[in-house]
Structure formats: structure tokens, C-alpha cells
């Protein structure tokens, strides 16, 4: 479980995060949603430790990352997997090389064990047969799956995903969402997904934090979202005509 308490962060004179508190649970897909520029990426980068907030606490199962020294921070990063918006695969390595990378750097496994683990992760994301391909030779959806395989290679306790569906078609997006959801439950990972894809919100949103202008605007689940009176949330989630109709349909079905 990751707890964020009273986080404040500014860049130059502009305050981006205002006293944000939130809890992210084990075995659940925790979503951070919000408009572009609302501060959700800064919040995620603060939690991961790529950005240092001015105030607040970030607790990884009770361990405050902001009070850790460099050595402890390095240790906790071995418990973290991260999926970047652009996949961030190493261009010079093959699919297998990318998945093997964290194992080579941080595990005490023998080369044979590393290979076995890497193959297991590649098969887990349904990418069998792509071992020797380079990132530039595979599609965006496949790159995302390789990035997921790399992120789970070391059996992380915490998995961070920054807009995992960006640039993908709706069908592939659903596959990636399902994969993330399955992995989260299977290995009891605390998964935090930064997204503004409404299909993801309504599909896998087990714990949703809505960031609005740097504040925690709303917290709930995908089912609560239809009953919320929060104007900012409704304007954001049900911005399109299609989603407004979906909301009306769900509400009318529930009334019956």
C-alpha cells in the first residue's frame, strides 16, 4: 500500500500540487485521472521519487521515501516497476535484452535462471516469438507489452504506469488494461495508473483519484463515478456525448 499525505509541490513560483492526500491499495488498479496540466504526472513523479515535493509524506508500506537516504532509496526502487508513456525501451537491446536488463543488473540469478524468468515474463504478456526483435521492429502495443514484461521482471511490489494507452487503438488499449488488471491481482501489486482514457476509468478503475487543478478533487470507484455530483469530475469524465448517454443509461438501469 502507498499512502500520500499532504503533498505540496511548486515549480518556480507556480504551485502544481496543493495539499494532496491519497491511498493506493495492494492488488487493486489505482487510477490517477485529471485533465492535461492538472498535476497528475507531477503527482506520479513525486510518488516515484523523480520529483521531490516541498512538503508531505510518501509512505511505501509505512516507509517514507522522502526521508530515505540515497542507499535506501536505491533499494526501494528495486521493488518498483514502471511503464512509461512512450514505453522507454532501450533501442540498442532486443525484446529479450530489455526484459533481461533488470535481472542482469539487480538479481542474483544465474544466467540460465535469468533467461527462464525473462521468457516467463514475455510469455505472460503474450509476446512469445518476439525475443530477437528490436523495439523499432514491433508495434506500439507490442512495445507496451515488452515494457510491462520488463517492469514485472523483478516481481515488483509497486507498479507505476504513465498513460499506458496513449497512442494505442481502443482494442489494444483494452488488452493492455486487462493485462495490467490481471497482473495486479495475480501478484497482489500496488498498481498506480496515470490516465485520461475514460475506457480505462470505467473498465478497471477500482480506486480512482481525480486530480483537479492540483487538488484531490474526488476519490471513489468506477461504480461510484456514475452517482457523483462533483461538477468538475462529471465535466471531465462525461465530456463527450457518448459518455453522457452511457451515464444516463446506467442511471436509468439502476433506477429500475
Amino acid at each position: 500500500m502507498i499512502e500520500v499525505r499532504h503533498i505540496n509541490k511548486s515549480f518556480d513560483d507556480k504551485q502544481i500540487l496543493h495539499d494532496i492526500s491519497a491511498t493506493f491499495y495492494d492488488g487493486k488498479t489505482n487510477l490517477i485521472i485529471g485533465q492535461s496540466g492538472s498535476g497528475k504526472t507531477v503527482l506520479m513523479k513525486s510518488i516515484v521519487g523523480l520529483v521531490t515535493p516541498e512538503e508531505g509524506e510518501i509512505l511505501y508500506d509505512g516507509r517514507d521515501i522522502m526521508k530515505m537516504n540515497l542507499r535506501d532509496r536505491k533499494m526501494i526502487r528495486k521493488e518498483i516497476g514502471m511503464l512509461f508513456q512512450g514505453s522507454a525501451l532501450f533501442d540498442s537491446e532486443t525484446v529479450l535484452g530489455n526484459v533481461m536488463f533488470p535481472l542482469k543488473m539487480f538479481s542474483d540469478m544465474t544466467p540460465a535462471e535469468q533467461l527462464e524468468r525473462a521468457h516467463f515474463c514475455i510469455e505472460r504478456v503474450n509476446l512469445k516469438g518476439a525475443d530477437d526483435k528490436y523495439p523499432s521492429e514491433i508495434s506500439g502495443g507490442m512495445q507496451k507489452r515488452v515494457a510491462i514484461a520488463r517492469a514485472i521482471a523483478l516481481n515488483p511490489k509497486y507498479l507505476f504506469c504513465d498513460e499506458p494507452n496513449s497512442g494505442l487503438d481502443p482494442k489494444t488499449s483494452i488488452l493492455i488494461d486487462e493485462l495490467l488488471s490481471d497482473i495486479t491481482r495475480e501478484y497482489n501489486i500496488t498498481t498506480i495508473i496515470n490516465t485520461h482514457d475514460m475506457n480505462s476509468v470505467l473498465g478497471i478503475g477500482e480506486n480512482i483519484i481525480f486530480v483537479n487543478k492540483g487538488h484531490n478533487g474526488w476519490t471513489g470507484t468506477k461504480d461510484d463515478i456514475f452517482d457523483s455530483d462533483n461538477q468538475a469530475l462529471n465535466d471531465f469524465v462525461f465530456a463527450t456525448d457518448l459518455f453522457q448517454r452511457v451515464k444516463q443509461y446506467v442511471k436509468s438501469t439502476r433506477a429500475k
Binding site: V48, L50, R73, K74, M75, R77, K78, I80, M82, F84, Q85, G86, A88, L89, F90, D91, F101, P102, K104, M105, F106, F160
Partner: protein, 249 residues
């Protein structure tokens, strides 16, 4: 203002170098990358070094012939002067300026692209010291391989002069060979090799620094690449003056 920003950049560069020169997390991975960098930055530069050196050696010989066409100057002076130019300046300083363009821009754009595509962030998230992991093998490869390139350049430049003499007959070949052997000072070779070590460090580390701190997109990667070439060229020329003053006086 310029002095202040230069000092700030120099301070950041020193901090960056401090991060680069730490012990690698995995020695096996370091050596694998080190060998790859020797191939990419060093061995792949040999054809360019050979081509440029042959032509510069040939041109130097022609220039020396034209500028020493006096009955008071012995003909072997052509070989002697060509050798001194090659050993003292071309095969160390000028060669490293050329490498600042080829290798420097390659390093800056590679690391810069890794920065803008979040590959460096991915390394940091995993707990890898990205500066050490990416830059140390490049710096070590350049510093250890530069002398091979310099020696290649010395031989091929002199051979370029030899070919000009053989083909055009400006100077008899035997006279040219006598010229490049006469009054030989072996310290000049050491001087060139020592200078090149400093230049190789500058080329690889300055280019890495500019690439590592790129912010933005493809346009900024291009700018970083250009800035790295300009800055390392200026630093090489400045160091050339200082080292020549220290080592040849």
C-alpha cells in the same frame, strides 16, 4: 552574465563527472558496454582517420615543397617539416577536433535521444546510476582507444606524403624518407599521445554532458549535439595552448 552562466555550467559539469566516476553496479555489464563503445567510437572511426590523414599528409607535403622551394633549403626539409606538423599538431589536436564532430555528435545525440524518450528516467527508476552506466564506458573507451587512432593517423599521414612524392616526383622518395627520419625527437610522439588523452576525455565527457541534460524534443537533441561540438572544440583548443606551453617549454 556570460561568466556567471559559464561558471554554473562548469559546476554542473563537475557534479555530472562526479556521478560518472563511481564504481559500476555490475562490472560484467560495464565491460560489455566498454567493448561495444570501443567498437562504435573507436574502431568505426578508423576509416575516417585513415582517409583524412592520407589527404592531409599529402597536402602538407605539397605545401612544404612549395614553401621551401629555395636553393638555400635542403630538399629533405619537406619530409622533416611534414613530420613535425603531423606529430606536433595534426595527429593529436586536429584529429581530436575532427573526432569532436564525429564521435561527439554521436554521443550527444544518442544520450539526448535516450533522455527525451524517457530511457534515462527508466534507468533511474530501476535504481541504476544512469550517468555512470551510460557515460563511463564511453569515456573509458575513448581515452583508452584514442592513442591507437593517433598512431594510425601518424603513419597514414606520413604515408600520404610518401605517395605524393612517389606519384608526382616533387621530391625524390629517398629524400622524403631521409627527411622524416632526420633530427627525430621521440618526445614529440609522447607529447602527441599525452595531449590526445586529455582531448579524448573532453570530447566524450562534454558530449555526454550536453546529451544527458537535454530538455524537450528532437530539436533540442540537435541543438545539444551542435553545442557539444562547439564547446568541446573550444576546450580542446584552449587545452592545446596550455599543454603545449607546459610540455614543450
Amino acid at each position: 552574465m556570460i561568466i556567471q552562466s559559464s561558471l554554473k555550467s562548469f559546476g554542473n559539469y563537475c557534479i555530472f563527472i562526479g556521478r560518472v566516476f563511481t564504481l559500476p553496479d555490475r562490472w560484467r555489464e560495464f565491460f560489455r558496454r566498454y567493448v561495444n563503445e570501443i567498437v562504435k567510437l573507436g574502431i568505426d572511426s578508423i576509416p575516417l582517420v585513415i582517409v583524412i590523414s592520407i589527404f592531409i599528409g599529402a597536402v602538407c607535403t605539397i605545401q612544404m615543397y612549395l614553401n621551401t622551394s629555395s636553393p638555400l633549403m635542403p630538399r629533405y626539409a619537406v619530409g622533416l617539416a611534414t613530420r613535425e606538423i603531423i606529430l606536433l599538431e595534426f595527429s593529436s589536436s586536429i584529429l581530436c577536433l575532427i573526432l569532436a564532430g564525429k564521435v561527439g555528435s554521436n554521443i550527444a545525440s544518442e544520450i539526448g535521444t535516450m533522455r527525451v524518450t524517457e530511457q534515462i528516467d527508466a534507468l533511474e527508476i530501476m535504481g541504476v546510476n544512469s550517468a555512470n552506466f551510460l557515460v563511463l564506458p564511453k569515456v573509458m573507451a575513448m581515452v583508452t582507444f584514442i592513442n591507437v587512432l593517433v598512431i594510425f593517423s601518424m603513419f597514414t599521414s606520413l604515408w600520404g606524403g610518401y605517395m605524393v612524392c612517389a606519384v608526382t616526383g616533387l621530391v625524390p622518395v629517398s629524400t622524403y624518407v631521409y627527411g622524416i627520419q632526420t633530427q627525430f625527437i621521440s618526445w614529440y610522439v609522447w607529447y602527441a599521445l599525452i595531449k590526445s588523452l586529455f582531448f579524448a576525455f573532453v570530447v566524450s565527457s562534454v558530449a555526454s554532458y550536453f546529451g544527458y541534460y537535454v530538455k524537450g524534443g528532437a530539436l533540442e537533441v540537435g541543438k545539444a549535439s551542435t553545442n557539444s561540438v562547439v564547446t568541446s572544440s573550444i576546450v580542446i583548443l584552449l587545452l592545446d595552448v596550455i599543454l603545449t606551453n607546459l610540455m614543450l617549454q
